[in-house]
C-alpha cells in the first residue's frame, strides 16, 4: 500500500469528521459553554477576592477543561457505531489506527482548540497574572491532544454499551491525573515566576507516548466492542 493512499485515507477521515462537526455545530458548542459556565461559577461560589481566585485559577481551568473534554468524548464514535459507519472503517484496507488518528485529530480540533482559544479570557476572569497566560496556553496545547487520545481508548471500549457514560468517566479520569498534575503545576509555577521547563517536558513526553500508543489501543478496543 502506498503512503499517498494511506495519507489520503487519513485526510478523508479528518475532513469527513470536521464536515460532520460543522453540520451538527450546536453539539459542538456544548463543551465550550460548559467550560465557560463552570469557570464563571467559581468567583460566585468561592469568593470574588482576586488573591483567592489567583491561587485557584490554574487548577480550576484545568479541571474544567478536563471535564469539558470528557463531556464531548462520547460523540467521537457514537453516531458511527449506531449507523454502521464504524464497521466500514474496521473493514477498510487501511490500518484502523490511522483512521482512528484522523478521528482523534478532528475531535481535538473541534473541542480542544476552542478551549485553548477561550482560556486567556477565562484566565483574566480569574485574575491570573498575565505572565502565566502563555504557560496556560502551552499546557493546554500539549495536554489537550493527550486528553483526546487517551479518551478515545475509553470511548472505544464503552461504545457498545447502552449507558457507558459513568463507566467512561471511571475508566478515563484516573488516566488524566498525570496530565492534570503536570499542567496545573506548570501554570502555578509560571504565576509564581518559577521555571516550568520540567513540567512541559513531561507533558511533551506524555503526548509522544499517547500519540504512538493510543491509536493502536483504540483500534484494538473498537474491534472488541464490535464483536
Amino acid at each position: 500500500m502506498s503512503e499517498a493512499s494511506l495519507f489520503n485515507a487519513f485526510y478523508t477521515v479528518l475532513k469527513r469528521d470536521l464536515t460532520l462537526a460543522y453540520r451538527t455545530r450546536t453539539e459542538m458548542v456544548n463543551p465550550m459553554l460548559f467550560f465557560i459556565i463552570v469557570i464563571s461559577l467559581f468567583p460566585l461560589a468561592v469568593s470574588p477576592d482576586p488573591k483567592v481566585l489567583q491561587s485557584l485559577a490554574p487548577g480550576v481551568i484545568w479541571v474544567a477543561a478536563l471535564l469539558a473534554t470528557l463531556l464531548s468524548l462520547d460523540s467521537m464514535f457514537r453516531s458511527d457505531f449506531d449507523d454502521g459507519a464504524l464497521e466500514q472503517m474496521l473493514l477498510s484496507v487501511h490500518p484502523v489506527s490511522v483512521i482512528v488518528l484522523g478521528k482523534v485529530l478532528a475531535h481535538w480540533m473541534v473541542t480542544g482548540i476552542p478551549l485553548l482559544i477561550l482560556s486567556p479570557l477565562l484566565a483574566v476572569l480569574l485574575h491570573m497574572p498575565s505572565d502565566s497566560i502563555p504557560a496556560l496556553m502551552t499546557t493546554l496545547a500539549l495536554g489537550g491532544p493527550i486528553l483526546s487520545l487517551v479518551g478515545a481508548i475509553g470511548v472505544a471500549l464503552t461504545v457498545g454499551l447502552r449507558r457507558g457514560g459513568v463507566l467512561l468517566s471511571l475508566l478515563i479520569l484516573p488516566l488524566y491525573i498525570p496530565v492534570l498534575i503536570f499542567a496545573a503545576n506548570a501554570v502555578s509555577n509560571a504565576a509564581a515566576g518559577l521555571a516550568i521547563a520540567g513540567q512541559l517536558y513531561f507533558l511533551g513526553a506524555l503526548l509522544a507516548l499517547a500519540l504512538t500508543l493510543a491509536p493502536v489501543a483504540t483500534a484494538a478496543a473498537l474491534r472488541i466492542s464490535l464483536r
Binding site: 502506498s2 477521515v13 469527513r16 460532520l20 454502521g84 459507519a85 464497521e87 473493514l91 477498510s92 484496507v93
Partner: protein, 227 residues
C-alpha cells in the same frame, strides 16, 4: 503503484481466477454459541469465483452472525474462515481489498450528501473506480440527489447509496445482509440484476435474503439455518 491495485485487477479478471483455484473463500467447522444457545454447529462450505451463496433461515437463526463472522467482525466460537487458503486474520489487507460488506446498518452518514458518502467509502477502500461517483449515483437511480444531505432521503434511497458503493469498488466478494430491504419493486429488480451480473462476470456474492435469485444451476448455493 499501490500493491492492492494490482491485486484488485487480478481479482477482477475471471480468467485468471479460474486458473487459480485458491482465490476462494473456504469455511470449515464454523460453530457459534451465544448465551448457551447454539446458533449453528460445524458449518462448512467453499465459494469459488462465479458463485453465489444464499443464507436462509427464520429470524434469530444466526444469519447476520454468519455474515459478521465471514467479514472478520465477529469471532466464531470454533472454526475458521480462509481466504486464498489463509485465515482471514493473517491475510487481512488482501481480504479487505477483495471484500465488501453492507450490513443491516449500512453506514451512510445522514449529515453528508450521497456524493460525500461515496467519496469517503472510496478512500476507505482505496479504489480508483472505472466510473465516476456521479455515474454510479445515476445508475442506482439517484440522479439529482447528489448534493442533498442524506437525511432528506428515504430509507430506500439511503440503501441505494450504500449499494452504489459496490459498483464503485472492484471487490470480488460482496457480503450483503438483506440487500432488498426498504427497496421498491423496481429497485429490487435493479439490485438483483446487479448481483447476477457480478456473479456471471466471475464475482462472488454471499447474501441473506428470502428473495429468489435468477441464477443458473451450479452458480447458486443455499444454506438453510434451522434453529
Amino acid at each position: 503503484m499501490p500493491l492492492t491495485n494490482t491485486l484488485l485487477t487480478q481479482f477482477h479478471m475471471p480468467q485468471t481466477n479460474t486458473q487459480k483455484p485458491e482465490s476462494a473463500l473456504t469455511v470449515t467447522g464454523l460453530t457459534c454459541i451465544r448465551d448457551d444457545r447454539t446458533l449453528f454447529k460445524g458449518l462448512g462450505f467453499s465459494l469459488q469465483p462465479g458463485q453465489a451463496l444464499q443464507i436462509e433461515g427464520p429470524n434469530g437463526s444466526g444469519k447476520t452472525t454468519i455474515l459478521r463472522i465471514l467479514c472478520g467482525l465477529t469471532l466464531p466460537t470454533e472454526g475458521e474462515v480462509l481466504w486464498n487458503n489463509l485465515p482471514i486474520e493473517e491475510n487481512r489487507t488482501d481480504y479487505m481489498a477483495a471484500m465488501d460488506f453492507i450490513g443491516h446498518a449500512h453506514g451512510i452518514k445522514k449529515e453528508l450528501t450521497p456524493l460525500e458518502n461515496l467519496q469517503v467509502a472510496m478512500a476507505m477502500a482505496n479504489t480508483h473506480a472505472a466510473q465516476s461517483i456521479e455515474g454510479v449515483l445515476e445508475q442506482v437511480g439517484l440522479r439529482g440527489f447528489e448534493d442533498v444531505p442524506a437525511i432528506t432521503l428515504s430509507a430506500g434511497q439511503c440503501r441505494r447509496v450504500a449499494l452504489g458503493r459496490l459498483l464503485l469498488s472492484k471487490s470480488l466478494l460482496w457480503i450483503l445482509d438483506e440487500p432488498f430491504t426498504a427497496l421498491d419493486v423496481q429497485g429490487q429488480a435493479q439490485i438483483e440484476s446487479m448481483l447476477v451480473n457480478h456473479v456471471e462476470q466471475g464475482g462472488m456474492v454471499i447474501l441473506t435474503s428470502h428473495h429468489p435469485l435468477a441464477l443458473k444451476d451450479g452458480m447458486l448455493k443455499t444454506i438453510n439455518l434451522r434453529p
